[in-house]
Amino acid sequence: MGTYRKGNAFYKKSNRKNDDPGHRNMIIAITSGKGGTGKTTLAVSLFHYLAEAKNEPVQLVDCDVEEPNCALFLQTEKTGEHRVDIRIPVINPEACTFCGKCHEICAFQAVIMLPPASFIEVVEEQCHGCGACSYVCPEHAITENDREIGKISFFRYREPDDFLEGRLKVGSALQTRVIRELLEQVNSRGTVLLDAPPGASCPVVAVISQADYVLMVTEPTPYGLNDLQIMVETVRQIGKKAGVVVNRTGLDYAPLYAYLQQENIPVLAAIPFHRKYAEAYAEGMILSEAFPEIREMMQSIVKAIGS
């Protein structure tokens, strides 16, 4: 899987939609500006519903690589795993003439150099593995080593590889890279559900930009509304179709509904707040398995997205 392309790009380029004119997959990203609104609950519930329905293949991809939680809810069998590496430069001080070219080109301030002390080193935590330093080094004093930044795991829930998880190595700051590598592995047919990380910055954009439809989960509170507005702007900028699921209704914070109406954003489902849902979630249960009314909601969400 650590397939190398011509040159030295290191992503396996496989299931990208644009490469395959005959693609038939439908990629749904499940997002929320605010954390803890119920993204994973919804993703897992939809996945279970579709996997049981078996009308077409479905795949769940946990893209919240910093804190992947889907696996806690699913009884699966792990079928494979591979490392996500970047290539970190190692500078040979014997060959180095301290010309400073590597230090100068590095956009991430990862090369520390003190010519009077004949000291030169790469700060691995800051390095993005772009290869610019080794490219510009006139002395060929730079070689590269693999450094693990995360893992991609393959699982079987109902079908082989129908659940994938990306997991950032603790301490690494390159979450977006792990997500990109993970997205190269998605199925090219059927429905693909991407459980996105919270927020609206680069890791989330990496997920949304691969999707056909964005399902935004929010809650009726001022926080929920504020973070949804940021998410809506992001989704519109990228130009994707989107709808909302309002979770924990019952508090009925009116400005949220006013906003949704004014912006003409469809509400695909409203999940009422119930202590029984919160408790079932805390136990690690799948809501669409445990509660028939949630299963019905999943059905109407799938229908609404399909039309």
């Binding site: 011509k6 040159g7 030295n8 790009a9 290191f10 992503y11 380029k13 644009n18 929320s32 500006g33 605010k34 954390g35 803890g36 609104t37 690589v65 910093e66 804190e67 939680n69 806690l72 290539r87 956009a107 991430f108 993005h128 593995g129 772009c130 290869g131 610019a132 490219y135 950032l168 603790v170 301490g171 690494s172 700051a173 390159l174 979450q175 990109r180 990380p197 919270p198 927020g199 609206a200 910055s201 680069c202 989330v204 954009v205 990496a206 930009s209 509170t221 001022p222 926080y223 504020n226 973070d227 940021i230 992001t234 900028q237 914070y253 408790e279 979630y281 805390a282 136990e283 690690g284």
Partner: protein, 296 residues
């Protein structure tokens, strides 16, 4: 206190565990304090603080390569070298995917036709404001922009400057969820980390990863368990596990719908319900934090 401001970062690993509500609830007890909202993807503290804006500054939000099509000879060298798959050939020309480009500049030096340049965006914002609780500095990420880690450092740097200027005793930082670059960036150099968790399987899973991340720093850590009564056995399990790791539990907050009601009114819980038992819980948490800070 006669020393430099003491900086406390509130983190959670998992989102939605109640970080921001905890910061807001403690804000009434902190005395002379500067607040920093470092959840730059979704800064929410200002919704309760309702501050008066003083100044907004734009901040670099990342660099992207741009190909000048007139000079491009379509040799494809850039595409072969790019490790981020940021260069694509479509409709007869090479183009940069701005969402994939990390702005490393390799293509710029490699292009034999000198057709590629780096452009820097300035779409991230730093906001300075004043509120009834004290100064609030927060960040606002440009839509889909990067550099959230750098923006976090910048927000903290400015909060520190403000705290030194005003002789504040404390800096309270509402941190980002997760354990990636913005979270790491919010821990570096802080004096104390408060991790907020909830008694669910995901709450514990995410707390363990967060503790592994903070374990790479020397910063001491205390834990607050929110909504602990939603699943008391799970709360007890978390407490036991923390005891084994010699990490103090600074408080257990019961589930209370009134927190959300107060939020809808734009108030912190102690403001909305000064005599509610929960207000006492938050006060005790703050007092424990003060004592912990005194021992550091």
């Amino acid at each position: 206190m006669n020393r430099k401001p003491f900086e406390i970062v509130i983190l959670s690993g998992k989102g939605g565990t109640g970080k921001t509500s905890l910061v807001a609830a403690m804000a009434g007890f902190t005395g002379n304090c500067v607040f920093a909202d470092c959840d730059v993807d979704a800064a929410d503290l200002h919704l309760i603080f309702q501050p008066q804006l003083l100044k907004e500054e734009l901040f670099p939000s990342g660099s992207k390569a741009v190909i000048d099509q007139q000079d491009c000879t379509s040799c494809g060298v850039c595409m072969d070298l790019c490790r981020f798959y940021a260069i694509q050939f479509s409709h007869g020309q090479y183009a940069i995917d701005p969402f994939a480009c990390e702005g490393c500049g390799l293509c710029v030096v490699a292009c034999p036709a000198e057709a590629i340049r780096i452009e820097e965006n300035h779409l991230n914002a730093l906001v300075y404001s004043h509120s009834r609780f004290g100064s609030l500095v927060y960040g606002r990420l440009g839509i889909g922009e990067e550099n959230s880690g750098k923006l976090v450092s910048e927000v903290r740097k400015n909060a520190r400057e403000k705290a030194v200027q005003t002789g504040a005793d404390w800096i309270l930082v509402d941190g980002p969820p997760g354990i990636g670059c913005p979270a790491i960036s919010s821990v570096t150099g802080a004096d104390l980390v408060i991790a907020v968790t909830e008694p669910s399987r995901s709450g514990w899973h995410d707390l363990e990863r967060l503790l592994e991340m903070t374990g790479k720093f020397k910063t001491p850590v205390g834990v607050v368990i929110n909504k602990y009564d939603l699943r008391e056995e799970m709360s007890e399990k978390i407490e036991k596990a923390l005891e084994q790791r010699k990490l103090p539990v600074l408080g257990k907050i019961p589930y209370e719908e009134k927190v959300v009601q107060a939020l809808v009114e734009g108030k912190s819980l102690p403001e909305a319900l000064p005599d509610h038992p929960l207000t006492g819980v938050f006060r005790e948490i703050w007092e424990k934090i003060e004592r912990m800070a005194g021992d550091i």
